[in-house]
Symmetry: C2
Subunit: 336 residues, 2 copies
DNA sequence: ATGAAAGCGCTAACAG
DNA sequence: CTGTTAGCGCTTTCAT
């Protein structure tokens, strides 16, 4: 086995010596400062590559008092919705030279708070966070220390931040109206938690569409659930236990939709008698048995918008907080 | 709108002054150094919280020449397999006080290389990487600068690293044998790229099981594919175009399995006539129409093992590289 | 047990 | 256009 000499990384001073210039000049070359004699710059670059110089970003960050790292906190990285958002963020920020520090809060405000603290300690340039709990999540720790923050998916209760959210109300209304037009009348709703931003907005949209169509709302057709697969499963079992079961269900998120499909399959419900509509991408789903439409949210766009907002704020920390509401989206027929 | 004073963060020197001690003492308290007078330590802690001190990890990292950050590079964060692995890594490393810097190489060796460079510049304590291309991925950049590396999922071609891989050969053999025992005889295989570590191993396992059962291999039953959803879809269409179609298919990964199911559904193949087996978690899949078994790999364990290996190497950089081969896993009946 | 002081690697005034 | 120099905030010998 060959023993590789732990070749100590060359530093700017080594490069400077090698190129016969000062460290300042090397630093200028490193930062593409235009006022360096092209010939000297070339010599420095030669030394740079000859010595195999590698920047120490930690030192640079300390000196510059800013880091090219952005923190991202999501409640569940396994959820396709958030993976898409994160991809959007990553793609957009890479162009600006930022790296991502991705954290999974697991929907736990304590864990979230601890990540917030860690990110702040890491002197990240900014943080994009999908709050675990829009009411209890505490972002003041960051804002008080002047770290730029962008909130996504759910609006944060306290304070005003740059935010990117979907127009969930209109989206839900769209899905519901679609069923109405298709002649469905017993349209149920498996709702997300009332206290969540998305949950309450989607419920409102559902109710609004029913009202607009002149269909009386039936309390028995609205099941409060919790955004979990299991919750969706239980909700469907509850809805179908009724003597007058629904002929369509608007489901407030992707995980519950999977649970719902599982329940329908298990109960062997005739696909002709029921139609489903859901939010958020469900890319790994393959049930082609039950009719399912999903609201195509352009999820990655939420990420790119958030990134743009963050970059804008980093550039101008005192700008007014801006809330971007992304249009409801288009209905995508997923299976029929 | 209230203007929040951009309260400049207190530094150790501020705390020291406030507590009437030296910066060294504050630092010792910060690091739980036992040889500090308990009374003084208490006083320092009081100042710490009174002033709302927040550690600047960048400065600490520069001084300590080490960072409590670990880089993780995966080819596709949207793949449930990798999300699970990342969760495993995250959970395990959080206990050791590390944060994760997650990068998505998008199966692109160039992007991967650039992340490798960035992570190295960030002075991360170590890197866990699932190489985009086990042959062309270049990890020497890291190893030459002494950054601990753990390779997961696929073995890296050049050099020997700490690695964690599944026993893919045995796993594929297990799935295949299961079909044989169930009386199936025309068992097909939708294979991953031959040059990939997992692809070739799974193919070998499949062939091995057939040989062990004394079943002649039929070239027409083996379709080379590319691990993509679309690839799985095309493979099934190809297999079913035959006059003697398979009665079972061993599919080399989760994405191709989804494509396969889509094709079967589209062709409206009788579920009784075909059975599927797949690798990797497919948690968001909900097809209960076709019989599907998957190899339960304990995916998160790959993450925790990788984390353990990395921590071990950080602690003892000169230890011999170790390759952990995780047992094939148990067959999980996913739908029947 | 505590403090003084040096210095991690880099950048940005400031001079020249 | 280039060099000198003073730190960024923290930790850690080395004295005391």
């Amino acid at each position: 086995m060959t023993v590789v000499a732990k070749s100590t990384r060359p530093k700017v001073v080594d490069v400077a010596r090698h190129a016969g210039v000062s460290t300042a000049t090397v630093s200028r070359v490193l930062n593409n400062n235009p006022r360096v004699d092209p010939e000297i710059a070339e010599r420095v670059r030669a030394s740079l590559s000859e010595l195999g110089y590698r920047m120490n970003s930690v030192a640079r960050s300390l000196r510059r008092q800013s880091n090219s790292v952005v923190g991202v906190i999501v409640p569940d990285i396994a959820n396709p919705f958030f993976t898409d958002v994160v991809r959007g963020i990553g793609d957009a920020l890479r162009d600006d030279g930022y790296m991502l520090m991705l954290c999974n809060s697991d929907d736990d405000t304590d864990l979230e708070a601890s990540y917030l603290r860690l990110l702040s300690a890491q002197q990240v340039s900014g943080v994009i966070v999908a709050p675990a709990d829009s009411l209890r999540s505490d972002l003041t720790e960051l804002t008080s220390t002047g770290v730029p923050v962008v909130v996504i998916d759910r609006l944060a209760g306290t304070g005003d931040f740059d935010s990117v959210v979907f127009d969930n109300r209109t989206g839900a209304a769209q899905l519901t109206a679609r069923f109405v037009e298709a002649g469905r009348r017993r349209i149920a709703h498996i709702a997300g938690p009332e206290r969540t931003f998305t949950g309450s907005a989607r419920r409102e949209g559902y109710l609004e569409a029913l009202a607009a169509a002149g269909i009386a709302t039936d309390g028995a057709l609205i099941v409060d659930s919790d955004y979990s697969e299991e919750g969706g499963y239980r909700a469907v079992r509850e809805l179908l236990a009724s003597s007058t079961p629904p002929d369509a269900i608007v489901i407030a998120n992707n995980a519950m939709t999977l649970g719902a499909i599982r329940a329908l399959t298990e109960l062997d419900v005739d696909p002709e008698t029921i139609a489903l509509a859901s939010f958020d991408p469900v890319p790994w789903s393959t049930s082609q048995r039950y009719s399912l439409v999903v609201l195509d949210h352009e999820t990655m766009r939420m990420g790119t918008e958030a990134a743009a907002l963050l970059v804008a704020r980093i550039g101008e920390p005192s700008r007014e907080p801006e809330i971007r509401r992304l249009s409801a989206g288009t209905v995508a027929v997923f299976a029929d």
